[in-house]
């Protein structure tokens, strides 16, 4: 059975473009141009993966994710945005998105990202991997804040390779580990990103915007 995909984007032209690209590989069960319709329909349709835009009126992608997570915990979200601003990425990941890709992504890469998300994995684009490395590199070791999760050196290795443009398969070969292990590392990084010290990440994000 093919993966059920739902699309949310207030930019109609872009929405129809993505729909056409994904229609071959997935079952597009519906789409919405606004937050309220999206939340109502996703609750009813219970799709496998929701591709959601970040910047929309009435709360944007964060509102969609938060509006659905409580009622339909099995729905997985992939953020798809023109923005690669640190604040946007942090907000979406915190809300519960399993991945974040920019709209410049190549169609085949988008399709594989959707498949990966459906399989329960997290999706890190090279840019997002660099962003996570940057955020955690700036975080001060846990003396004054025991809650702050640090990345293990293995997780950093995986992120570095992804940031260098390696596919998961190549990462696995390079580090002599299985793809499954790579996916585990990426998922645990995602979890740390979702749980890590709010203050540190926010400060890092705002600093990054200035420089």
């Amino acid at each position: 059975m093919s993966v059920k995909v739902y699309l949310v984007d207030d930019h109609r032209l872009f929405l129809s473009g993505v729909k056409a690209e994904l229609a071959e590989d997935f079952r597009i069960v519906g789409s919405a141009y606004d937050v309220d319709t999206a939340i109502a329909e996703i609750r009813g349709l219970n799709p496998d993966v929701v591709l959601v835009d970040v910047h929309m009126p009435d709360g944007g992608g964060v509102a969609v994710v938060e509006g659905v997570v409580a009622t339909n915990p099995d729905v997985k979200f992939l953020a798809l945005s023109v923005s690669d601003q640190a604040e946007d990425v942090i907000a979406m990941i915190r809300a519960g998105a399993r991945g974040y890709v920019t709209k410049t992504i190549e169609p085949p890469d988008l399709a594989s990202a959707v498949r990966r998300i459906d399989a329960g994995d997290a999706v890190f684009s090279p840019r997002l991997a660099g962003f996570v490395l940057d955020a955690f590199a700036g975080a001060i070791p846990s003396d004054d804040d025991p809650e702050l999760d640090q990345l293990t050196s293995r997780e950093k290795d995986v992120l570095r390779l992804i940031a260098r443009g390696y596919a998961y398969k190549q990462v696995a070969r390079k580090l002599s580990i299985s793809i499954k292990t790579v996916e585990t590392h990426v998922s645990s990084v995602l979890r740390k990103l979702q749980l890590s010290n709010r203050h540190e990440l926010a400060r890092w994000a705002s600093k990054r915007r200035i420089v």
Partner: protein, 410 residues
């Protein structure tokens, strides 16, 4: 205090105001006492609202009149009695200091008139009071930035220089008269009297004009700044986005279109989010993005640039950026890959750059001469600056050029 005298003072206000730019409220002479922002009972404030002059000048007028047989006090009480209501604290336009001019002129006229009948008030007292109160008013006028605030707070707009001058002259004049009076140096009093009078004259004559001029200039300047900003945005969009869109419309090649759009996107993004070197310090990340954009443009291969951390550009990093640029050119020419990535990372000890492609790759131990040449030029450049170069490749497995450079403590 005879009713006759306070009556003439009332006329002073009315006559003076009628002669210079009549204000609708004056005709019926309705005024309301101020409820907030008042000192005694809000009479002066209310009158200032009605006459549309700054509070401080109105209060100065009352103080000055107080020195003429106490007329000011009588007037204040009279207005207090006829004030039938309070006024809400509202924003009142404080332009039109011409009313102040009228008040002062009419006041001087009445004093002279009374003087002609031999009813001089004590001139020293009156002039001292006038100079001190109006001088203070000019300096502390709450409707405009005060000179003192202007001196200490760089955010406050520069106050009118003329107004400061007038205020200072009035204050000095008034204080001098007081000093002479106390010291009993009557022989010089006329000179200082003349100075004080000249000060008042200048203030009255040019004050409102200067005030209006400064106001107009400020409005005009704000308008000009807005227009300049608009023009700048328009110029930028015209030179960049519109040109690119035109190119895209004319281009039949999808790859070329994608390249143009991508290039424009990066450029617009940097412009929108202000990603420019701060304080003239060039950063490695910016230099690398620039280098990647040039390679993208020349060779039509998209390059994903990811940077972690940053470092200012110096001789060492210049070599690193130059080598990375050559590595990108090399990959664009020979790898056959349809995209590549550049990853820059710096920590406390070293900077690393990875130029990675998924192209045809090659056997590093058996390369053609021209490729060895490029590899050597990369190597020479980086090693001369104290770094290392590693080239990892296998036929069919893509190529990765790794450049490392120790970070020097500064």
């Amino acid at each position: 205090m005879s009713p006759n005298r306070s009556g003439s003072s009332l006329i002073v206000v009315a006559v003076g105001s009628r002669h210079h730019s009549p204000v609708p409220a004056i005709r019926s002479f309705e005024f309301k006492r101020r409820e907030t922002d008042r000192i005694v009972a809000g009479v002066a404030g209310g009158l200032a609202d009605t006459l549309r002059i700054p509070d401080s000048y109105m209060r100065a007028a009352f103080l000055t009149l107080l020195s003429i047989w106490g007329i000011g006090g009588a007037l204040y009480i009279a207005f207090w009695l006829i004030a039938f209501d309070k006024i809400e604290d509202e924003e009142v336009e404080t332009v039109g200091s011409s009313q102040t001019l009228g008040l002062a002129a009419a006041f001087a006229g009445v004093v002279l008139l009374l003087g002609a009948f031999g009813w001089w008030p004590n001139p020293v007292l009156v002039l001292t009071a006038a100079a001190l109160s109006f001088g203070t008013a000019a300096l502390s006028d709450s409707s405009r930035p005060t000179p003192l605030a202007g001196l200490f707070d760089p955010n406050v707009e520069k106050p009118s220089r003329t107004r400061i001058l007038i205020g200072v002259v009035l204050l000095i004049g008034g204080l001098s008269i007081l000093n002479i009076r106390v010291g009993g140096l009557f022989e010089f009093s006329t000179v200082f009297l003349a100075i004080a009078l000249t000060g008042v004259g200048v203030a009255v004559a040019f004050g409102p004009w200067v005030g209006r001029l400064v106001g107009d200039l400020a409005t005009e300047r704000n308008e000009r700044i807005r227009q300049e900003e608009r023009a700048e945005v328009a110029t930028h969009l015209h030179d960049s986005v519109l040109q690119t869109l035109a190119l895209i419309q004319r281009s039949g090649d999808p790859a070329r279109m994608a390249m143009l759009a991508r290039h424009q996107e990066n450029e617009l993004r940097d412009w929108l989010y202000g990603i420019v070197p701060l304080d003239g310090i060039d950063l490695v990340s910016t230099a690398l993005k620039g280098a990647a954009a040039r390679v993208e443009e020349d060779h039509e291969v998209p390059i994903d640039v990811v940077t972690v951390g940053d470092h200012p550009v110096d001789e060492q990093t210049k070599a690193l950026v130059g080598a990375a640029s050559e590595a990108m050119v090399n990959a664009a020419k020979h790898s056959g890959a349809d995209r590549m990535s550049l990853f820059f990372e710096t920590d406390d000890d070293q900077m690393s750059i990875f130029v990675t492609d998924q192209g045809v790759g090659f056997d590093p131990s058996a390369v053609e001469d021209d490729r060895r040449g490029i590899a050597n030029s990369i190597r020479t450049r980086v090693e001369k600056a104290g770094g290392t170069v590693e080239i990892v490749s296998e036929p069919g497995e893509g190529t990765e050029v790794v450049l490392r450079m120790p970070v020097e403590d500064q």
